[in-house]
Symmetry: none
Subunit: 383 residues, 2 copies
Amino acid sequence: MLEAKLEEAALLKRLLDCTHFSSYTNESPCSPRLCLAIKELVTDANFECNEEGINLQAMDNSHVALVAVNLEASGFKKFRCDRPMPLGVNLNSLTKVLKCAKDDDICTIKATDDVDVLNLVYEAKNSDRIAEYDMKLMDIDAENLGIPDTDYDARVTMPSAEFTRIVRDLSLLGESVRIEVSKEGVRFASDGEAANGSILLKQTEAAKEKYEKYGKDDEEVKDEEDEEEEEDKPKKKKIKKEKVKKEEKDGDVEMNGDDDDDGEFKAKSDDEGEEEQEEEEEEEEEETKKKNKKRKKAPSKNGQPSKKAKKSDEVPSDGGVYVEMNQHVSLTFSLKYLVNFSKSSSLSNTVQLMMSNDVPLLVSYKFGQGVIKYYLAPKIGEE
Amino acid sequence: MLEAKLEEAALLKRLLDCTHFSSYTNESPCSPRLCLAIKELVTDANFECNEEGINLQAMDNSHVALVAVNLEASGFKKFRCDRPMPLGVNLNSLTKVLKCAKDDDICTIKATDDVDVLNLVYEAKNSDRIAEYDMKLMDIDAENLGIPDTDYDARVTMPSAEFTRIVRDLSLLGESVRIEVSKEGVRFASDGEAANGSILLKQTEAAKEKYEKYGKDDEEVKDEEDEEEEEDKPKKKKIKKEKVKKEEKDGDVEMNGDDDDDGEFKAKSDDEGEEEQEEEEEEEEEETKKKNKKRKKAPSKNGQPSKKAKKSDEVPSDGGVYVEMNQHVSLTFSLKYLVNFSKSSSLSNTVQLMMSNDVPLLVSYKFGQGVIKYYLAPKIGEE
DNA sequence: ACAGGGATCT
DNA sequence: AGATCCCTGT
């Protein structure tokens, strides 16, 4: 059976907003015909549960975008999953049920081995209210969506709010955006009927320092866990750039630091998982203000203020932009999807864009309990 | 070609809010049927650019109201316009493009001589972000809207916030307002189904002193420009009040200090027009904190604080009311337009109402970089 | 505390 | 497409 307890129901609620994007992206007056095109980008999804946590993968109905969420077992206040089980969830139903939770409720989800029902319990912090819901589950073909496993040629790390702002702005003008990473920085450009727009973000030194280790925390954490490569870290950091440029393999590992489901890292992951649990408790203590997660008390330079009570990010949002690239990339994407993706800024102050020419864009938000990744196929042969 | 750089994009954004008023003035619950009546008061406008600055004139679609904006070249951080050129702008498009600017961006607009595209560049203060937009221009018949060139019998100078409040309040009751200037002050009265309202503003001594020279700076500046009537100035100032009362002609000139394009006053206008430009600059100068440019150093007594970095006004808003009149006037206007006009309170703390019986009202807001003037025909034979 | 803008729902 | 509600910014 599965039993997972979350300190705050808010996380699930926000996560579902980010997954179950169905918005009427009618910001494109240029193409009102598209406004109704999306309706529901994702309606059903399998929540794959195992002892390491919960993974969700779903492809939008038009098979252009893919969303993958990973919640680590350590991100829960309590997590137990005796055997792998897929929970076939209708996102509309889950959205409704989650609306019945208050943001600060303690939320426990349970499923028995016959996985035909998901049990959700919302408990007020002071325990004077307990709400319980049973949601029917469905049988979804666990078509394992081939997550593209690419070595990206460019990675952009930037404040999620800025990304949100950019795609929202450009969606006022046109329906697609060309993202171009070059030595001068990253450029977002869109052509519309009324106007064309182009935004160039230059890398800042501050951002470079701040984000240099971002996305490689996994390693650090790992290292820390391993406890033996402490002295290695600094080295790694220093050569990181070179790695990206020279060692495709290692560079990619770093670039893909977010990858969760790769076999070869499994062993290590296991360790992490258990440790993380401990950390979790630690965290709670740390989270004096929020539900943030910063697991290890790593040589954390990301001592983040965690402004509101909403975002649980490790990096302040006032960020600046950090660009890493092996080669110039230029890709065109549908803005309506990116606008949807950018709703994840409620989960993290930082976003990473990973790109290589002619392969899907990866938009990744790391948050305290895991990571949400979006993949979007580029438009091809577009003007 | 045209190249104009503004210290803050916010000015343009606010200006467009004031020009492109399309609001559903549904503040009138009394007449919900009117809510949809306006939709778009002004959709397109020509931005007339020449070496002296930028002028915009537009009439609302129902030809009842007219808006005229003058931005002085001196109000820009940089301004260059090699030859006069009209930029035919769709205000909807410009609104969208301006939404893509952050308020504190440095904004540069450029147009080449073929004026088919307006180029807007938004540069973050720290230059790590540069956004560039190209907006298509259109060909608009430069129907030179006959701006009424009246000698006004009454002028009311008051805090713009108070005017905003009054028209908003009265718009809750009825759809028109009678504005009456008499010796006791200025009265705003509206009759509605639910209630009638009447607001009397009496002139205050403080306001008299404060505003005595407001709107007449033009003259001073003019004199300065002319450079030869220096000795005349003090004289003029002293008799100013008398002028208003005795010499209709001269009084009007003063009262009409803002008029820009009048045929018969052209000769005089010419002087005045140029003068105004200078005054503008004066005003800006006073705004020591903003993007001022102050060319001439006038004997400025309006050393005004200019609170925030937003409003660029020469007079504090805590104002009081100053009334000048040659004769009693009483006129009735549509409140929905006045409510729209009053949005310009974001540009200036002070507003001037100029009236004569049976001619359009002139509502004028002067701000650091120029002036925005609204003309509204009175309702006639109304109850 | 109020106003404006954005997002969601009908 | 319009109206209402919520959130953010001033």
